[in-house]
């Protein structure tokens, strides 16, 4: 399945492990908590996040980054070219694991908007759920 992003980049999406997705969502507080936050008005949400203690906020940020790395690294088929790998090395993102290279490319170099990133995550999750039914 292909998705076209606002930057003109077209990516091929594939399903990942439902168990891994659920484990990451559990770190983010579970599906019920995610749905509750998604329904919050923006100003209420920012106040809610600001009111969290540092440990809680750090835990959530780490889980969100983990979610992006997993969805982009394992849920996308395209690989970054050598020039991008060189750029990542200059940024000290010099992992030799192909999935993580792909994730770092999409997170740091490809210039995706927040909506694009959310679109990829949503599509990978939906595709995985459909494939597991």
């Amino acid at each position: 399945m292909e998705i076209e992003l606002s930057t003109g980049l077209t990516l091929t999406v594939r399903p990942v492990s439902q168990v891994a997705i659920d484990a990451i969502i559990a770190e983010l507080g579970g599906y019920a908590e995610q749905a509750r936050l998604a329904a919050m008005p923006f100003d209420e949400l920012t106040s809610y996040i600001r009111a969290m203690d540092y440990d809680e906020r750090a835990r959530r940020d780490k889980a969100q980054l983990k979610q992006m790395v997993y969805m982009f690294g394992w849920g996308i088929e395209e690989t970054p070219d050598d020039r991008v790998i060189e750029m990542l090395e200059e940024l000290d993102c010099n992992s030799t694991v192909p999935q993580i290279q792909r994730a770092h490319w999409l997170i740091y170099v490809a210039g995706l908007t927040r909506a694009d990133k959310a679109n990829i995550i949503g599509t990978v999750m939906a595709l995985t759920r459909v494939m597991n039914q």
Binding site: V19, A23, G30, A32, K62, K66, V97, I100, N132
Partner: protein, 209 residues
């Protein structure tokens, strides 16, 4: 007992301490209640089972039970012939600890992992499968029919599985520690035996004369 996955990994199923399984307690979320008028001024609280938030909390609870069960049974697994590349890559991404059990956890489907969990439970404690197998082997019949096919008029009082297990241990003159130490299929056989004896006693007492 051994299981082989589609990818060729072999899993030797062992036992875990039964009391650890009994101690697993994750409180189930409760549905919200709605007050409805049943008759005149009499009201009744009715659970709203299709509440979206409740359904999501229920899904999270099921997933938590699954994860806790998986963590409990992992020490009982002896895994060989597994491709570790995926687990190592996931560990580099901060997911899991890169162990062979994690390699299984993140590559097998829920159904396959539940099958493994069920196999460890079967080896460790009283299970429905163990009871059915024991009943079939005991071969009790009443007028030529398997005993379990006869309906018996028990009183409406109900007891949990743990109570049935305690009673079977007591009637077999085993302490609870001794009962917990024997393999799961044998525990199931003790429970099945006493349940069949009770059923037979009821049928003989009611229809025997």
């Amino acid at each position: 007992m051994e299981l082989v996955t589609q990818t060729g990994a072999t899993i030797k199923i062992g036992r875990v301490e039964r009391r650890a399984l009994d101690a697993l307690d994750v409180p189930r979320p409760q549905p919200p209640l709605r007050i409805v008028e049943t008759w005149g001024e009499i009201t009744e609280q009715v659970p709203v089972l299709d509440d979206v938030d409740y359904q999501q909390r229920l899904g999270d609870w099921r997933q938590r039970i699954f994860l806790e069960q998986w963590q409990l049974i992992v020490p009982a697994l002896e895994i060989s012939g597994i491709d570790m590349a995926e687990a190592v890559a996931l560990h580099a991404a901060g997911i899991g600890d890169g162990s062979p059990s994690d390699a299984l956890h993140y590559t097998l489907t829920y159904a396959e992992q539940k099958h493994i969990i069920a196999a460890v439970y079967y080896q460790s404690t009283v299970t429905a499968r163990g009871i059915i197998e024991a009943e079939a082997r005991f071969g009790y019949t009443w007028h030529g029919q398997p005993l379990s096919s006869w309906s018996v008029g028990y009183t409406p009082g109900a007891r949990g599985q743990l109570a049935a297990d305690w009673r079977a241990a007591f009637r077999s003159q085993l302490s609870w520690s001794e009962f917990c130490a024997i393999p799961g299929p044998e525990q199931s056989a003790h429970v099945a035996f006493w349940a069949l004896e009770d059923r037979l006693a009821y049928l003989v007492g009611t229809y025997g004369n």
